[in-house]
Symmetry: C2
Subunit: 168 residues, 2 copies
Amino acid sequence: MKIKLCYTGGMTEHASETDSPHHAPVPLAECALARAIRAIGDGWTLLILREALCGVERFDAMHDDLGIPRSVLAERLSKLVAEGILEQRPYREPGRRQRNGYGLTEKGRALTPALVALREWSEAHLPGGPSRLRLQTQDGQEVTTRLTRADGSSLDDLSEIVAVAKPE
Amino acid sequence: MKIKLCYTGGMTEHASETDSPHHAPVPLAECALARAIRAIGDGWTLLILREALCGVERFDAMHDDLGIPRSVLAERLSKLVAEGILEQRPYREPGRRQRNGYGLTEKGRALTPALVALREWSEAHLPGGPSRLRLQTQDGQEVTTRLTRADGSSLDDLSEIVAVAKPE
DNA sequence: CATCTGAGTCCATTTTTCATACCCAAAATA
DNA sequence: TATTTTGGGTATGAAAAATGGACTCAGATG
């Protein structure tokens, strides 16, 4: 996946109402969502973040859980560390040499809402039976996401949402 | 990325408190989040969903916006249609032959919260300047996500969240 | 009829992933 | 001290996927 950040941007003169109601041609370089996708939008990377969210810190544990090739795991971990999403966490088991695991930084933990939303979507719309992974508060309440407007009111009808391009 | 759904599952006898506090070894097959990642956790797929959320329906428009190879775009679109996330939307411009675009189904639109959360994370934690893509209500209010507990109260401290494996 | 256009398909080349084997440092064992 | 063991990686060749460009197809237009 080699995203070119050249983008013809801007409405061309023949853009018309035959286009969809709200085509917002925001160049990829100026789109926060696109940047997030470039940072973590990869199957293995997302699965590694799931492991991290579940508290799995060790290379071999991730390797065993995911069945990911070791070279790919090493490469993704170092990329996530370089991006500040994971950090190395040296640890030592008694009678064993010091090693380093990987844990979420604050930046990485801030991805929780996105992962919770993805999990919710999956539960509601994908087949596969109930999930055994629960994301909950320490007192056992399930955590979910809710869309809200700027004024704080909650937004239930997705068709109310439009994507628009801010003028430069 | 070839996920093997064999997973050694279950705590082994030497699992101990040297593991992270809440290691929840839920097999990938029984994890809703993992299923979501398998369905849409791919860079191009996510960028295509961004296009769809922005109302871009046409093959060539997506191709131009993203710079994605045509063969990859065709393959991803047909996969998304097969999964019921996108649907073909036949349309005809005046004086042109009928063609089909692609639009979000209800299932696809239900991914909006996840994409909004991802966008929020990017704005807050990735460099790159302000985003020009806004997701807002028709009356111009920005849409954001909020984590909530089952009782409806909102949850601001991410460290309150734990991942646990439901017993089978 | 010849041409144009959007929406793909086909194909040769390059890149990434996969699976397996191998390596390294320090602790444990002898 | 020499040897083994083990977690945490690297190296390597084969397989799969992405890339970019050419090609195709159907129908509208001139």
